[in-house]
Amino acid sequence: MPQTMSLLDASLDGGFGQPVFEAQAAFRLLMDAMARPGSRHRVDADVAAPGLSGPAQATLALTLCDADTPVWCDDAPPALGAWLAFHTGASLTAAPGEAAFAFVGLGGAVPDDLPLGSQDYPDRSATLVIEVRGFGEGERFRLAGPGIDGSCDLAVDGLPEDFAAFRAANRALFPRGLDVVLTAGREIVALPRSTHFIPSEG
């Protein structure tokens, strides 16, 4: 019984206080992040989801997920399913191939069978959300492509192994491919599939 209660508590807490306006503000931040790949953004909302890494991941789920978007999460605790159902109407799926959004925790691995979209409908691909340790230090990349004036630099600490190889393979699929959102606590950096990702020295 106490078990059930705590599951219920966990599923009721951690949502937006003012869903309409907080979702709008969070979406604008995400849109800005997606429009300017590599730019760093910070979410304000005090939200938390059992099994998601931090406020940024929880904000993204609250802003974009609903009954039309199955969610995959590595090591999802049962409470996450209840939390998603209560706050967003989204359902958890155990099959990455069905996911519209995939959440990966720090040090987690990227599943290799997420939907990549088709040549005719490249939009039917998943958005991959990966928690990292932080930005500004760690592995350095030079980014170019739509949304970037020339090029910009990004340093990320705590990326999954083989991330560079994954990015290169993903970029080669264009216009198919995954759109990646890196999160670190409250911070967000988007790396849409259109971004060129060049390892740089120093």
Binding site: P19, V20, F21, A23, Q24, A25, F27, R28, L30, M31, M34, A35, R36, T63, L64, C65, D66, A67, D68, T69, A100, S118, Q119, D120, Y121, P122, D123, S125, T127, G145, P146, G147, I148, D149, G150, F174, P175, D179, P192, R193, S194
Partner: protein, 282 residues
């Protein structure tokens, strides 16, 4: 049934989320038309329901909205859409391009250069640039998938053969980030060069055709042309009769029935700012 029961910015949250997801996909695949389940809006299809849905999905209480039709803030449909958002979202509105955070437009890009952080929302009637060459969606979708734009080049080339030049004056097709051929909406080709490497974010909404597409800031937007027939824009021989501006798009105003006419700025805000010396102007 009364207005008070409608959600902020009219659309329900689920619809906004669906549109927001489509916008993010559109940004990730610049120039690709993302299908979305457009809703009926309380204004007719053709009046800008696509643009209105996009604006409703992005706008927040802190935004300042400008709406133009034919470049002008005071055309009846621009007035009507502005009033709609004032009513359902309570947002501040402006006619000054430089003050706006969100600009919804039909058929023009403002003359005053847009800046980072601004969002330009285009109303789009027929989002498919290949539609008049191939009416079937099932066919054009495959062409985009294969990046097979031969039909478009043949059409432009036939123009040159018949008329000595490319005979498209508005809705002039562009290629975005070297991949997708895109309809820039029915703006005069005069405005096409403003789209490339713009610091502003450009979103396109087609309500009846149920498509959303986007051009992120700092993205190459190239008007299709041929080496021996490069893309050209319209030039006007005379300046605006009201403000004297050159290198702006002009409307031809018929003054009488004896051939009398004058040319005045299409962008009314820019024209007025130049004449009164207020606000930012190009």
């Amino acid at each position: 049934m009364n207005a008070a029961t409608y959600n902020f910015a009219y659309l329900d949250e689920q619809t906004k989320r669906m549109i927001r997801r489509a916008i993010l996909k559109a940004l990730a695949i610049p120039g690709y038309q993302v299908p979305f389940a457009a809703r009926e809006m309380p204004m007719p299809y053709g009046w800008g329901t696509g643009g209105v849905q996009v604006t409703a999905a992005v706008i927040g209480p802190g935004d300042v909205l400008k709406v133009i039709d034919q470049g002008a803030d005071d055309t009846t449909n621009a007035v009507s859409i502005r009033a709609f958002f004032r009513k359902v979202a309570g947002v501040a509105t402006t006619t000054h391009t430089a003050e706006a955070t969100v600009i919804q437009t039909r058929h023009r890009i403002p003359e005053y250069p847009l800046k980072e952080g601004q969002i330009l929302v285009y109303q789009v009637p027929i989002p498919e640039p290949l539609r008049f060459l191939e009416p079937r969606e099932t066919e054009t979708r495959v062409m985009h998938g294969l990046e097979d734009y031969g039909l478009m080049h043949v059409k432009l080339y036939e123009d040159i053969a018949h008329h000595g030049r490319i005979a498209t004056a508005y809705a002039y097709p562009v290629k975005v980030a070297g991949r997708y051929v895109m309809d820039p909406s029915p703006i005069p080709k005069f405005d096409n060069p403003k789209m490339t490497m713009s610091p502003a974010l450009q979103l396109f909404g087609a309500g009846r055709e149920k498509r959303i597409y986007a051009v992120p800031p700092y993205t190459e937007v190239k008007s299709l042309d041929f080496e021996d027939h490069p893309f050209e824009v319209q030039t006007f021989n005379e300046p605006c009769a009201l403000c004297g501006a050159r290198n702006v798009y002009l409307d031809e105003v018929v003054l009488d029935d004896r051939g009398g006419r004058m040319f005045v700025c299409s962008d009314t805000d820019n024209c007025e700012s130049r004449r009164t010396g207020t606000g930012a102007q190009s």
